[in-house]
């Protein structure tokens, strides 16, 4: 705990970011339980190492970067099938969004639209729409060149807008 932030800062950061982090995690993992775990794991890492951050203005990028890396690590590990039951894995890798995540109509539309977008666009789009990160911040979080982020966002936004409007239309027709 030597490099831990002080308690007040930790609480403040949780208050500010637990919701957008959870939503970002859900957009990546598509599972509520994993999204919760990823969010808590991110704050655990922050509790351990957050005190090392010299520039407090970078806390937001740091949190999203940490969560994204943890997701990639878990995703790679889950592919190795090393400790889960087949049924759990099936749900984890092939399952769709759990029904609880679709409690709200608009939330459902957003998630459904995001799922229909090409995979490489999803993470930058989530960061852009969920937390309004700038291109530079998104590039830092995803460890991509800014030009790549700009290009992916430009094409991804067009896809997402179309998908969202189509989903909205289909749902209202149904």
């Amino acid at each position: 705990m030597k490099r831990a932030p002080d308690r007040n800062l930790f609480n403040e950061v949780v208050e500010l970011y637990y919701q957008p982090l959870y939503r970002f995690a859900l957009s990546l993992s598509k599972r509520e339980d994993q999204a919760s775990d990823l969010t808590q794991e991110t704050f655990r890492t922050f509790a351990q190492h957050g005190g090392e951050l010299r520039d407090k203005g970078k806390v937001k990028s740091w949190l999203f970067t940490t969560l994204y890396r943890e997701f990639l690590r878990l995703y790679k590990r889950s592919k190795r099938l090393d400790h889960y039951e087949p049924a759990v894995l099936e749900a984890q890798l092939g399952g769709s969004i759990q029904s609880d995540a679709r409690r709200k109509h608009d939330a459902h539309l957003a998630v459904e639209a995001l799922e229909s977008v090409d995979e490489i666009f999803r993470a930058p789009l989530s960061l852009f729409y969920i937390e309004d990160l700038t291109y530079k911040e998104i590039a830092d979080v995803l460890d991509l060149p800014m030009g790549t982020v700009m290009s992916r966002l430009s094409r991804g936004k067009a896809q997402l807008r179309d998908a969202f409007l189509n989903s909205a239309k289909n749902n209202s027709d149904a």
Binding site: A4, R77, A107, A110, K136
Partner: protein
């Protein structure tokens, strides 16, 4: 600048674009009602999408759980400090552990360290070694189908308490050497009729530590650590006090296990 370029430029997040270029794009769009309408349409859709994402329900207990992470870490660090203090109060235990650590380190790094990648039971002669071989074969065969975790602790101290409360074997090796690792989860297994504690460690590579009562070897201690690979799972096994400890990984190598065991033992 073309109209399409101007629209794309104004569609970017503020702050990432040169102010002069943005002003130029702004002028162009204002002079073109179609471009203005397109930009307006995009912004309206974006506003709806943002609102939609913001309406994704967040679990009611998530904030409390996130806040409690800090307490759990403080608690875990405190317990570890207590353990370390207790350890120092009993010098004979410290000396014994140091001797075991040095022995393990020497044996692990010595050229005649048991090593084979064919099968465990075929390379370890003698009753006690055959016992280890059978255990490793069983673990290798079952690897990946142990079932869901019984408990997902917030720290190693909590994992040790869980095993202790369930009368399952627990080892100082775990609490003293992986104190800063958050376990992925714990499960108590029944292997050959013995209660075996399994803790999955978020190390690099991801590892499983099995704590087996030494009775499974007929009470005999191993004279040297055994390294083996069964069913694509790498194993490192050694005895420590009344227990047989087995580190395993599917994503790493025996060398990774040696590194963790040696590193851990000399702390």
């Amino acid at each position: 600048m073309k109209i399409e370029e101007a629209i794309e430029l104004l569609d970017t997040p503020i702050g990432d674009c040169d102010a002069e270029l943005r002003a130029q794009a702004d002028r162009i769009v204002k002079e073109e009602p179609v471009a203005l309408a397109e930009l307006d349409r995009r912004h309206k859709v974006d506003f709806r999408i943002r609102g939609a994402f913001a309406s994704i329900a967040v679990p009611a207990d998530l904030k409390t759980n996130c806040l409690s992470v800090y307490d759990r870490l403080v608690d875990s660090a405190g317990k570890t400090a207590d353990n370390n203090r207790n350890f120092l109060i009993r010098p004979w235990m410290y000396a014994a552990a140091a001797a075991i650590a040095i022995m393990l380190l020497i044996q692990v790094t010595s050229p005649d360290f048991d090593q084979d990648t064919r099968s465990a039971s075929s390379i370890v002669p003698g009753v006690s070694h055959a016992g280890v071989g059978n255990l490793l074969n069983d673990l290798g065969r079952q690897f990946g189908s142990f079932g869901n975790y019984h408990h997902q602790p917030g720290g190693i101290a909590e994992a040790a308490s869980f095993f202790e409360n369930k009368n399952a074997p627990v080892s100082n090796f775990l609490t003293a050497n992986f104190f800063d690792i958050v376990p992925d989860g714990c499960r108590i297994l029944d292997i050959q009729g013995y209660r075996v504690s399994m803790v999955c460690l978020r190390t690099e590579p991801f590892m499983h530590l099995f704590i087996v009562p030494k009775e499974a070897l007929g009470g005999e201690a191993l004279t040297r650590p055994i390294e083996s690979e069964v069913n694509a799972v790498s194993f490192l096994a050694w005895t420590d006090g009344d227990q047989l400890l087995i580190l395993a990984t599917r994503s790493g190598t025996c060398e990774d296990l040696r590194r963790h065991a040696a590193f851990a033992s000399v702390q």
